[in-house]
Protein backbone atom coordinates (compact mmCIF):
# COMPACT_ATOMS: atom_id res chain seq x y z
CA UNK A 1 0.00 0.00 0.00
CA UNK A 2 2.81 2.37 0.79
CA UNK A 3 4.78 1.34 -2.29
CA UNK A 4 6.41 4.32 -3.96
CA UNK A 5 4.91 6.56 -1.30
CA UNK A 6 7.67 9.17 -1.69
CA UNK A 7 7.16 9.27 -5.43
CA UNK A 8 3.43 9.73 -4.97
CA UNK A 9 3.89 12.54 -2.48
CA UNK A 10 6.31 14.19 -4.88
CA UNK A 11 3.74 14.03 -7.67
CA UNK A 12 0.91 15.29 -5.53
CA UNK A 13 3.09 18.08 -4.13
CA UNK A 14 3.66 19.38 -7.64
CA UNK A 15 -0.10 19.40 -8.24
CA UNK A 16 -0.72 20.95 -4.83
CA UNK A 17 1.60 23.87 -5.60
CA UNK A 18 -0.02 24.39 -9.01
CA UNK A 19 -3.52 24.32 -7.54
CA UNK A 20 -2.58 26.85 -4.87
CA UNK A 21 -0.98 29.36 -7.19
CA UNK A 22 -3.59 28.97 -9.91
CA UNK A 23 -6.28 29.55 -7.29
CA UNK A 24 -4.73 32.65 -5.77
CA UNK A 25 -3.61 34.19 -9.05
CA UNK A 26 -7.04 33.72 -10.62
CA UNK A 27 -8.68 35.02 -7.43
CA UNK A 28 -6.61 38.17 -7.73
CA UNK A 29 -8.00 38.59 -11.25
CA UNK A 30 -11.50 37.84 -9.95
CA UNK A 31 -11.24 40.49 -7.22
CA UNK A 32 -10.08 43.05 -9.74
CA UNK A 33 -12.85 42.16 -12.20
CA UNK A 34 -15.42 41.96 -9.39
CA UNK A 35 -14.50 45.36 -7.92
CA UNK A 36 -14.71 46.90 -11.39
CA UNK A 37 -18.11 45.29 -11.97
CA UNK A 38 -19.41 46.45 -8.58
CA UNK A 39 -18.34 50.03 -9.27
CA UNK A 40 -19.99 49.84 -12.70
CA UNK A 41 -23.15 48.40 -11.12
CA UNK A 42 -23.60 51.45 -8.87
CA UNK A 43 -22.29 53.97 -11.39
CA UNK A 44 -24.53 56.89 -12.37
CA UNK A 45 -23.61 56.16 -16.01
CA UNK A 46 -26.29 53.86 -17.42
CA UNK A 47 -24.15 52.16 -20.13
CA UNK A 48 -21.65 51.16 -17.44
CA UNK A 49 -24.45 49.45 -15.52
CA UNK A 50 -25.68 47.69 -18.67
CA UNK A 51 -22.19 46.47 -19.51
CA UNK A 52 -21.64 45.14 -15.99
CA UNK A 53 -25.00 43.39 -16.14
CA UNK A 54 -24.25 41.84 -19.54
CA UNK A 55 -20.87 40.60 -18.33
CA UNK A 56 -22.37 39.10 -15.19
CA UNK A 57 -25.15 37.33 -17.08
CA UNK A 58 -22.69 35.92 -19.59
CA UNK A 59 -20.10 34.54 -17.21
CA UNK A 60 -22.55 33.42 -14.54
CA UNK A 61 -24.72 31.47 -16.92
CA UNK A 62 -22.10 29.63 -18.98
CA UNK A 63 -20.50 26.55 -17.39
CA UNK A 64 -16.90 27.13 -16.36
CA UNK A 65 -15.76 24.17 -18.44
CA UNK A 66 -17.39 25.74 -21.50
CA UNK A 67 -15.63 29.04 -20.76
CA UNK A 68 -12.29 27.22 -20.58
CA UNK A 69 -12.98 25.30 -23.81
CA UNK A 70 -14.05 28.44 -25.67
CA UNK A 71 -10.82 30.13 -24.63
CA UNK A 72 -8.45 27.24 -25.12
CA UNK A 73 -9.91 25.74 -28.30
CA UNK A 74 -11.91 28.64 -29.71
CA UNK A 75 -9.77 31.72 -29.38
CA UNK A 76 -6.66 30.27 -31.10
CA UNK A 77 -8.93 29.75 -34.17
CA UNK A 78 -9.41 33.51 -34.33
CA UNK A 79 -5.74 34.15 -33.89
CA UNK A 80 -5.49 34.63 -30.14
CA UNK A 81 -3.00 32.10 -28.84
CA UNK A 82 -1.72 31.80 -25.30
CA UNK A 83 -0.16 29.16 -23.09
CA UNK A 84 -2.73 26.91 -21.42
CA UNK A 85 -1.98 28.31 -17.94
CA UNK A 86 -2.84 31.80 -19.16
CA UNK A 87 -6.26 30.57 -20.28
CA UNK A 88 -6.62 28.75 -16.97
CA UNK A 89 -6.04 31.93 -14.96
CA UNK A 90 -8.20 34.06 -17.24
CA UNK A 91 -11.03 31.51 -17.43
CA UNK A 92 -11.16 31.00 -13.67
CA UNK A 93 -10.63 34.69 -12.94
CA UNK A 94 -13.19 36.11 -15.37
CA UNK A 95 -15.77 33.47 -14.36
CA UNK A 96 -15.30 33.98 -10.62
CA UNK A 97 -15.16 37.75 -11.14
CA UNK A 98 -18.85 37.76 -12.06
CA UNK A 99 -19.68 36.20 -8.68
CA UNK A 100 -17.31 38.50 -6.80
CA UNK A 101 -19.01 41.46 -8.50
CA UNK A 102 -22.45 40.34 -7.36
CA UNK A 103 -21.17 39.70 -3.83
CA UNK A 104 -19.57 43.14 -3.59
CA UNK A 105 -22.69 44.71 -5.02
CA UNK A 106 -24.86 43.20 -2.30
CA UNK A 107 -22.27 44.44 0.18
CA UNK A 108 -22.59 47.96 -1.22
CA UNK A 109 -26.38 47.72 -1.02
CA UNK A 110 -26.10 46.78 2.65
CA UNK A 111 -24.38 50.08 3.51
CA UNK A 112 -26.92 52.74 4.59
CA UNK A 113 -27.48 55.45 1.98
CA UNK A 114 -26.62 58.06 4.62
CA UNK A 115 -22.97 57.00 4.50
CA UNK A 116 -22.70 57.92 0.82
CA UNK A 117 -24.71 61.11 1.39
CA UNK A 118 -22.40 62.19 4.19
CA UNK A 119 -19.40 61.42 1.99
CA UNK A 120 -20.81 63.49 -0.86
CA UNK A 121 -21.77 66.28 1.54
CA UNK A 122 -18.16 66.87 2.60
CA UNK A 123 -17.19 67.24 -1.05
CA UNK A 124 -15.86 63.80 -1.92
CA UNK A 125 -16.32 62.91 -5.59
CA UNK A 126 -18.27 59.81 -6.63
CA UNK A 127 -15.04 57.83 -6.87
CA UNK A 128 -13.68 59.14 -3.60
CA UNK A 129 -16.81 58.35 -1.63
CA UNK A 130 -16.88 54.88 -3.15
CA UNK A 131 -13.19 54.29 -2.44
CA UNK A 132 -12.96 55.83 1.02
CA UNK A 133 -16.37 55.25 2.52
CA UNK A 134 -18.62 52.79 0.72
CA UNK A 135 -16.32 50.05 -0.62
CA UNK A 136 -14.25 49.63 2.58
CA UNK A 137 -17.46 49.03 4.51
CA UNK A 138 -19.02 46.93 1.76
CA UNK A 139 -15.90 44.76 1.57
CA UNK A 140 -15.95 44.15 5.33
CA UNK A 141 -19.59 43.14 5.11
CA UNK A 142 -18.89 40.42 2.55
CA UNK A 143 -15.59 38.90 3.68
CA UNK A 144 -17.31 35.64 4.61
CA UNK A 145 -19.04 35.11 1.22
CA UNK A 146 -15.85 36.20 -0.56
CA UNK A 147 -14.09 33.45 1.40
CA UNK A 148 -16.70 30.96 0.21
CA UNK A 149 -16.04 32.04 -3.37
CA UNK A 150 -12.32 31.47 -2.83
CA UNK A 151 -12.95 27.94 -1.54
CA UNK A 152 -15.31 27.28 -4.46
CA UNK A 153 -12.51 28.50 -6.72
CA UNK A 154 -10.08 25.97 -5.21
CA UNK A 155 -12.44 23.22 -6.27
CA UNK A 156 -13.28 24.80 -9.62
CA UNK A 157 -9.58 24.99 -10.38
CA UNK A 158 -9.67 21.21 -10.88
CA UNK A 159 -11.44 21.85 -14.20
CA UNK A 160 -8.33 23.34 -15.76
CA UNK A 161 -7.02 19.79 -16.09
CA UNK A 162 -9.29 19.72 -19.14
CA UNK A 163 -7.00 22.18 -20.90
CA UNK A 164 -3.86 20.40 -19.78
CA UNK A 165 -2.77 22.20 -16.64
CA UNK A 166 -1.20 19.73 -14.21
CA UNK A 167 -2.90 20.78 -11.00
CA UNK A 168 -3.76 18.53 -8.09
CA UNK A 169 -6.58 16.53 -9.67
CA UNK A 170 -4.71 16.17 -12.95
CA UNK A 171 -1.71 14.91 -11.03
CA UNK A 172 -3.85 12.38 -9.21
CA UNK A 173 -5.20 11.17 -12.53
CA UNK A 174 -1.67 10.71 -13.80
CA UNK A 175 -0.72 8.73 -10.69
CA UNK A 176 -3.81 6.51 -10.94
CA UNK A 177 -3.25 5.86 -14.65
CA UNK A 178 0.44 5.12 -14.16
CA UNK A 179 1.28 2.54 -16.81
CA UNK A 180 3.52 0.62 -14.42
CA UNK A 181 0.71 0.68 -11.85
CA UNK A 182 3.10 1.84 -9.13
CA UNK A 183 0.57 3.65 -6.92
CA UNK A 184 -2.19 2.41 -4.72
CA UNK A 185 -5.54 3.84 -5.85
CA UNK A 186 -6.82 4.51 -2.33
CA UNK A 187 -3.62 6.15 -1.20
CA UNK A 188 -3.84 8.56 -4.15
CA UNK A 189 -7.49 9.32 -3.44
CA UNK A 190 -6.81 9.92 0.25
CA UNK A 191 -3.76 12.02 -0.64
CA UNK A 192 -5.77 14.23 -3.02
CA UNK A 193 -8.63 14.60 -0.56
CA UNK A 194 -6.32 15.54 2.28
CA UNK A 195 -4.53 18.03 0.03
CA UNK A 196 -7.79 19.83 -0.86
CA UNK A 197 -8.85 19.80 2.78
CA UNK A 198 -5.55 21.37 3.83
CA UNK A 199 -6.02 24.18 1.31
CA UNK A 200 -9.64 24.75 2.26
CA UNK A 201 -8.99 24.74 6.00
CA UNK A 202 -6.06 27.11 5.59
CA UNK A 203 -8.28 29.49 3.61
CA UNK A 204 -11.07 29.25 6.19
CA UNK A 205 -8.60 30.16 8.90
CA UNK A 206 -7.21 33.02 6.83
CA UNK A 207 -10.69 34.37 6.11
CA UNK A 208 -11.60 34.30 9.78
CA UNK A 209 -8.38 36.13 10.57
CA UNK A 210 -9.09 38.83 7.98
CA UNK A 211 -12.68 39.08 9.21
CA UNK A 212 -11.55 39.61 12.79
CA UNK A 213 -8.95 42.22 11.84
CA UNK A 214 -11.40 44.13 9.65
CA UNK A 215 -14.24 44.01 12.16
CA UNK A 216 -15.69 47.23 13.46
CA UNK A 217 -18.84 47.69 15.45
CA UNK A 218 -21.76 49.50 13.94
Amino acid sequence: MFDNFDLMVEGLWGGFVTTVWVTFASYAIALLVGATLAIMHVSPVAPARWAANAYTQMFRNVPLLAVLFIMFFGLPKVGISQENWVWALLGLGLYTGAFVGETLRSGINSIPLGQAEAARSIGLSFGQSLGNVVLPQAFRAVIAPLGSLLIALVKNSALVLAIGVRELTAEAQVLINDNQNRFNLWMVIIGVTVSYLIIAFAISYLVRLVERRAAFTR
Binding site: Q115, A118, S121, I122, G123, F216, T217, R218
Partner: protein, 251 residues
Protein backbone atom coordinates in the same frame (compact mmCIF):
# COMPACT_ATOMS: atom_id res chain seq x y z
CA UNK B 1 -27.38 88.62 16.20
CA UNK B 2 -25.05 90.30 13.74
CA UNK B 3 -27.15 93.19 12.55
CA UNK B 4 -24.35 95.60 11.75
CA UNK B 5 -22.68 93.67 8.93
CA UNK B 6 -23.68 94.46 5.36
CA UNK B 7 -25.98 91.74 4.11
CA UNK B 8 -24.91 89.64 1.17
CA UNK B 9 -27.02 86.65 0.20
CA UNK B 10 -25.34 83.30 0.91
CA UNK B 11 -28.23 81.27 -0.50
CA UNK B 12 -30.95 82.39 -2.84
CA UNK B 13 -33.76 80.06 -3.74
CA UNK B 14 -36.08 81.28 -6.48
CA UNK B 15 -39.26 79.64 -7.74
CA UNK B 16 -38.21 76.12 -6.74
CA UNK B 17 -40.57 73.22 -7.33
CA UNK B 18 -40.04 69.57 -6.62
CA UNK B 19 -42.23 66.50 -7.01
CA UNK B 20 -41.91 63.02 -5.54
CA UNK B 21 -44.17 61.16 -7.95
CA UNK B 22 -47.62 62.65 -7.39
CA UNK B 23 -46.55 64.53 -4.27
CA UNK B 24 -45.79 68.19 -4.82
CA UNK B 25 -43.02 68.35 -2.21
CA UNK B 26 -41.87 71.93 -2.79
CA UNK B 27 -44.19 74.62 -4.17
CA UNK B 28 -42.77 77.82 -5.64
CA UNK B 29 -40.21 78.29 -2.90
CA UNK B 30 -38.52 81.70 -2.67
CA UNK B 31 -36.04 82.13 0.14
CA UNK B 32 -32.87 84.10 0.74
CA UNK B 33 -30.37 83.35 3.47
CA UNK B 34 -27.97 86.18 4.15
CA UNK B 35 -24.39 85.83 5.29
CA UNK B 36 -24.15 85.21 9.05
CA UNK B 37 -27.86 84.71 9.23
CA UNK B 38 -29.47 81.84 11.11
CA UNK B 39 -32.65 80.68 9.40
CA UNK B 40 -34.74 78.06 11.14
CA UNK B 41 -37.20 76.02 9.09
CA UNK B 42 -40.11 74.67 11.07
CA UNK B 43 -43.38 73.03 10.19
CA UNK B 44 -45.28 69.77 10.49
CA UNK B 45 -43.80 66.50 9.20
CA UNK B 46 -44.03 66.21 5.47
CA UNK B 47 -44.11 69.98 5.01
CA UNK B 48 -40.98 69.85 2.83
CA UNK B 49 -38.54 71.53 5.19
CA UNK B 50 -35.99 68.69 5.10
CA UNK B 51 -36.34 68.38 1.35
CA UNK B 52 -35.75 72.10 0.95
CA UNK B 53 -32.66 71.89 3.14
CA UNK B 54 -31.30 68.99 1.07
CA UNK B 55 -31.82 70.81 -2.23
CA UNK B 56 -29.32 73.46 -1.16
CA UNK B 57 -26.37 71.08 -1.60
CA UNK B 58 -28.20 69.08 -4.22
CA UNK B 59 -28.68 65.91 -2.24
CA UNK B 60 -32.16 66.39 -3.72
CA UNK B 61 -32.54 67.62 -7.28
CA UNK B 62 -35.20 70.17 -8.16
CA UNK B 63 -37.73 70.14 -11.01
CA UNK B 64 -37.76 73.87 -11.66
CA UNK B 65 -36.48 77.14 -10.27
CA UNK B 66 -33.00 78.26 -9.35
CA UNK B 67 -30.72 77.95 -6.35
CA UNK B 68 -27.51 79.92 -5.94
CA UNK B 69 -24.98 79.46 -3.17
CA UNK B 70 -22.49 82.23 -2.53
CA UNK B 71 -23.46 83.91 -5.76
CA UNK B 72 -23.14 81.02 -8.20
CA UNK B 73 -25.86 78.65 -9.39
CA UNK B 74 -25.72 75.06 -8.18
CA UNK B 75 -23.61 72.96 -10.57
CA UNK B 76 -25.37 69.95 -12.04
CA UNK B 77 -22.88 67.19 -11.28
CA UNK B 78 -19.22 66.36 -11.13
CA UNK B 79 -16.24 68.19 -9.72
CA UNK B 80 -17.92 71.59 -9.49
CA UNK B 81 -20.74 70.15 -7.42
CA UNK B 82 -18.28 68.36 -5.12
CA UNK B 83 -16.46 71.66 -4.70
CA UNK B 84 -19.67 73.41 -3.72
CA UNK B 85 -20.61 70.68 -1.25
CA UNK B 86 -17.22 71.05 0.37
CA UNK B 87 -18.18 74.65 1.20
CA UNK B 88 -21.58 73.68 2.58
CA UNK B 89 -21.49 71.71 5.83
CA UNK B 90 -24.31 69.28 6.45
CA UNK B 91 -25.42 67.67 9.68
CA UNK B 92 -27.92 64.81 9.35
CA UNK B 93 -30.67 63.56 11.59
CA UNK B 94 -28.96 60.17 11.87
CA UNK B 95 -25.44 61.57 12.19
CA UNK B 96 -24.10 59.42 9.33
CA UNK B 97 -20.61 59.23 10.76
CA UNK B 98 -18.40 56.93 8.70
CA UNK B 99 -18.82 53.70 10.66
CA UNK B 100 -15.45 52.18 9.75
CA UNK B 101 -13.38 55.23 10.71
CA UNK B 102 -12.38 56.62 14.08
CA UNK B 103 -13.71 59.97 15.22
CA UNK B 104 -10.47 61.67 14.19
CA UNK B 105 -10.48 59.97 10.77
CA UNK B 106 -14.10 61.00 10.27
CA UNK B 107 -13.13 64.63 10.71
CA UNK B 108 -9.88 64.55 8.72
CA UNK B 109 -11.14 62.61 5.68
CA UNK B 110 -12.61 65.65 3.93
CA UNK B 111 -9.74 68.06 4.65
CA UNK B 112 -7.19 65.47 3.46
CA UNK B 113 -9.02 64.23 0.36
CA UNK B 114 -10.82 67.38 -0.73
CA UNK B 115 -8.81 70.27 0.70
CA UNK B 116 -5.49 68.45 0.16
CA UNK B 117 -4.25 69.24 3.65
CA UNK B 118 -1.45 67.19 5.16
CA UNK B 119 -2.44 64.47 7.61
CA UNK B 120 -0.71 66.23 10.49
CA UNK B 121 -2.32 69.57 9.74
CA UNK B 122 -5.77 67.99 9.36
CA UNK B 123 -5.34 66.03 12.61
CA UNK B 124 -4.28 69.11 14.53
CA UNK B 125 -7.30 71.03 13.35
CA UNK B 126 -9.56 68.06 14.04
CA UNK B 127 -8.30 67.88 17.63
CA UNK B 128 -8.98 71.58 18.07
CA UNK B 129 -12.53 71.09 16.77
CA UNK B 130 -13.07 68.07 19.02
CA UNK B 131 -11.94 70.19 21.93
CA UNK B 132 -14.45 72.81 20.91
CA UNK B 133 -17.35 70.37 20.87
CA UNK B 134 -16.14 68.91 24.16
CA UNK B 135 -14.95 65.55 22.88
CA UNK B 136 -11.15 65.78 22.91
CA UNK B 137 -10.89 62.42 24.67
CA UNK B 138 -12.84 60.58 21.96
CA UNK B 139 -10.49 61.06 19.00
CA UNK B 140 -9.68 57.36 18.69
CA UNK B 141 -13.14 56.01 19.42
CA UNK B 142 -15.35 54.54 16.72
CA UNK B 143 -18.79 56.07 16.12
CA UNK B 144 -20.61 53.05 17.54
CA UNK B 145 -18.83 53.57 20.87
CA UNK B 146 -20.32 57.05 21.28
CA UNK B 147 -23.74 58.19 22.46
CA UNK B 148 -26.07 59.86 19.99
CA UNK B 149 -25.30 63.31 21.30
CA UNK B 150 -21.57 62.70 21.07
CA UNK B 151 -21.92 61.35 17.53
CA UNK B 152 -23.85 64.41 16.48
CA UNK B 153 -21.22 66.72 17.94
CA UNK B 154 -18.55 64.81 16.01
CA UNK B 155 -20.70 65.26 12.90
CA UNK B 156 -20.75 69.00 13.50
CA UNK B 157 -16.97 69.00 13.92
CA UNK B 158 -16.68 67.02 10.67
CA UNK B 159 -18.68 69.71 8.91
CA UNK B 160 -16.70 72.55 10.45
CA UNK B 161 -13.37 70.94 9.49
CA UNK B 162 -14.09 71.89 5.89
CA UNK B 163 -14.27 75.58 6.85
CA UNK B 164 -17.75 75.83 5.36
CA UNK B 165 -19.35 79.09 4.33
CA UNK B 166 -22.69 77.70 5.39
CA UNK B 167 -23.80 74.96 7.76
CA UNK B 168 -27.03 73.08 7.31
CA UNK B 169 -28.69 71.05 10.03
CA UNK B 170 -31.37 68.59 9.00
CA UNK B 171 -33.29 67.79 12.22
CA UNK B 172 -30.05 67.37 14.16
CA UNK B 173 -31.71 66.47 17.47
CA UNK B 174 -34.69 64.44 16.29
CA UNK B 175 -32.94 61.10 16.77
CA UNK B 176 -31.50 61.96 20.17
CA UNK B 177 -32.57 60.97 23.64
CA UNK B 178 -34.00 64.00 25.47
CA UNK B 179 -31.04 64.36 27.82
CA UNK B 180 -28.65 64.67 24.88
CA UNK B 181 -30.48 67.31 22.94
CA UNK B 182 -29.05 70.26 24.81
CA UNK B 183 -25.39 69.32 24.39
CA UNK B 184 -25.95 69.49 20.62
CA UNK B 185 -28.06 72.64 20.71
CA UNK B 186 -25.40 74.36 22.84
CA UNK B 187 -22.76 73.73 20.19
CA UNK B 188 -25.13 75.02 17.51
CA UNK B 189 -25.98 78.10 19.49
CA UNK B 190 -22.29 78.91 19.97
CA UNK B 191 -21.82 78.59 16.22
CA UNK B 192 -24.72 80.95 15.60
CA UNK B 193 -23.24 83.51 17.98
CA UNK B 194 -19.92 83.33 16.17
CA UNK B 195 -21.61 84.42 12.97
CA UNK B 196 -21.84 81.13 11.08
CA UNK B 197 -24.48 81.19 8.35
CA UNK B 198 -26.91 78.44 9.29
CA UNK B 199 -29.99 76.76 7.89
CA UNK B 200 -31.59 74.65 10.59
CA UNK B 201 -34.52 72.29 10.22
CA UNK B 202 -35.75 71.54 13.71
CA UNK B 203 -38.64 70.88 16.04
CA UNK B 204 -36.81 72.60 18.91
CA UNK B 205 -38.88 75.74 19.33
CA UNK B 206 -36.70 76.96 22.19
CA UNK B 207 -33.65 76.88 19.94
CA UNK B 208 -35.54 78.67 17.17
CA UNK B 209 -36.56 81.40 19.57
CA UNK B 210 -33.10 81.85 21.04
CA UNK B 211 -30.80 81.44 18.06
CA UNK B 212 -32.72 82.24 14.89
CA UNK B 213 -32.63 85.54 13.05
CA UNK B 214 -35.59 84.39 11.05
CA UNK B 215 -38.13 81.64 11.33
CA UNK B 216 -39.55 80.17 8.15
CA UNK B 217 -42.75 78.21 8.63
CA UNK B 218 -43.58 75.64 5.98
CA UNK B 219 -46.68 73.56 5.36
CA UNK B 220 -47.61 71.26 2.46
CA UNK B 221 -44.44 72.11 0.55
CA UNK B 222 -44.90 75.86 0.62
CA UNK B 223 -43.51 78.66 2.75
CA UNK B 224 -46.49 79.95 4.71
CA UNK B 225 -44.92 82.53 6.96
CA UNK B 226 -41.56 84.18 7.49
CA UNK B 227 -40.88 86.30 10.56
CA UNK B 228 -38.49 87.07 13.38
CA UNK B 229 -38.72 84.49 16.15
CA UNK B 230 -40.40 86.92 18.53
CA UNK B 231 -43.02 87.94 15.98
CA UNK B 232 -43.61 84.35 14.86
CA UNK B 233 -43.98 82.75 18.27
CA UNK B 234 -45.86 85.59 19.95
CA UNK B 235 -48.04 86.70 17.10
CA UNK B 236 -48.29 84.23 14.22
CA UNK B 237 -50.12 85.78 11.29
CA UNK B 238 -51.49 82.77 9.44
CA UNK B 239 -54.03 80.24 10.58
CA UNK B 240 -51.72 77.33 9.69
CA UNK B 241 -48.97 78.72 11.90
CA UNK B 242 -51.37 79.44 14.76
CA UNK B 243 -52.72 75.92 14.51
CA UNK B 244 -49.21 74.41 14.40
CA UNK B 245 -47.97 76.43 17.34
CA UNK B 246 -51.00 75.63 19.43
CA UNK B 247 -50.21 71.95 18.93
CA UNK B 248 -46.49 72.07 19.68
CA UNK B 249 -46.46 74.69 22.43
CA UNK B 250 -49.04 73.15 24.74
CA UNK B 251 -46.49 71.37 26.94
Amino acid sequence: MVETQPKTPMVTITGVNKHFGDLHALRDIDLTVDESEVVVLIGPSGSGKSTLCRTINRLETIDSGEITVNGSPLPAEGRALAQLRADVGMVFQHFNLFAHLTVLENITLGPIKVRRRSKAEAAERARALLDRVGLSDKADAYPAQLSGGQQQRVAIARGLAMDPKLMMFDEPTSALDPEMINEVLDVMQDLAHEGMTMVVVTHEMGFARRAANRVVFMADGAIVETATPAAFFDDPQTERAQDFLSKVMTH
